[in-house]
Assembly symmetry: C2
Homo-oligomer: 190 residues x 2
């Protein structure tokens, strides 16, 4: 975020003193998140709206999720450039090459059917175009959308992130994988 260099300020919203100290030590400001927005089922938008109420000067916010550790300054830069071109919301996506199937009740002997391909013309994974999915790394959004409770709305653009940089930490296994990627220097990281 600091190497990207285009943010007027970088804030960490937390109610945890350890996270707060760590954030300040690394040069971020700390927003003391109210406990009602810091419970297990809190949504990101509630924390962002709380922050915006106290920061009327902000007209574009970029939510960066700490669960995406391999964010790079050039990814943010690509998003920023789209904002300047007039997009109102710009977020990170990655390309998923997956054959999807309809969920059915197998216990009732129902038969499933393909949703995004024709089994008579299967492609090898390497040849598939794939589908774009949010990877949760970052969300640039204009203030008026956030105030309506939206990270995405109006003219939406995206930045495609290579899949190897797109890992999201949702479990202890994901965390271990990310640590290994780091320790084995498998990515070109800034």
């Amino acid at each position: 975020m600091q190497e990207f260099g285009k943010f007027d300020s970088v804030w960490v919203s937390t109610d945890h003193s350890g996270i707060s100290e760590c954030a300040q030590a690394l040069g971020a400001k700390v927003y003391n998140r109210c406990c009602e927005h810091a419970v297990d089922n809190s949504t990101s938008i509630s924390a962002v709206q709380e922050f915006l109420k106290d920061h009327q000067e902000v007209d574009v916010l970029c939510l960066i999720q700490c669960t995406s550790p391999f964010i790079q300054p050039e990814f943010l830069d690509a998003g920023y450039k789209l904002l300047l071109k007039g997009y109102e919301a710009v977020f990170s996506v990655t390309r998923d090459k997956k054959y999807r199937w309809r969920a059915v009740d197998i216990s009732k002997n129902e038969s499933t059917s393909p949703l995004n391909f024709n089994p008579e013309r299967r492609q090898r994974r390497q040849e598939m175009q794939g589908e774009l999915v949010e990877n949760g790394m970052f969300y640039f959004t204009k203030r008026n959308l956030l105030e309506k409770g939206l990270f995405q709305g109006g003219r939406c653009g995206y930045v495609e992130i290579p899949s190897e940089y797109s890992i999201e930490i949702d479990s202890m296994l994901d965390l271990t994988i990310a640590e290994q990627i780091l320790s084995q220097e498998l990515l070109n990281l800034n």
Copy 2:
């Protein structure tokens, strides 16, 4: 495969002497794959059809892909039970919790739009139902479908595999991740 115990025979189709020796040492039979079906752009179905021509006794085949190392006997058993219930093709899937977006031409300033959710009612990942995607681990298929060039057709059923067992090895990074999962004993493996 051996612990599952319901296969009449287990074959490795290869044109590589090292793979062949390894397969036999572990108790599998070896089918000498013709070189025309063993090049980089060979499809799985071409190799399966070649095998079936030489094995008229096979009426149901289970293709197991070596790129899914965390296969467990109970996954195969669940698939086998569905075959006995009358499904003609049964394969492994996993649940993907992803927000998908339409691919557009960002260089032409086009705006994207959501494909499988409403941004006004975003759910947290933990709450999403998700979508079923093939994970490439195994495909049970009746002979008549395979002869038509299909792994899937007629009445199709699936076995849902927990995501942590669903890793597919497509790159060196994937291989390193799989090795780490193994070495750190992060899964309950048979």
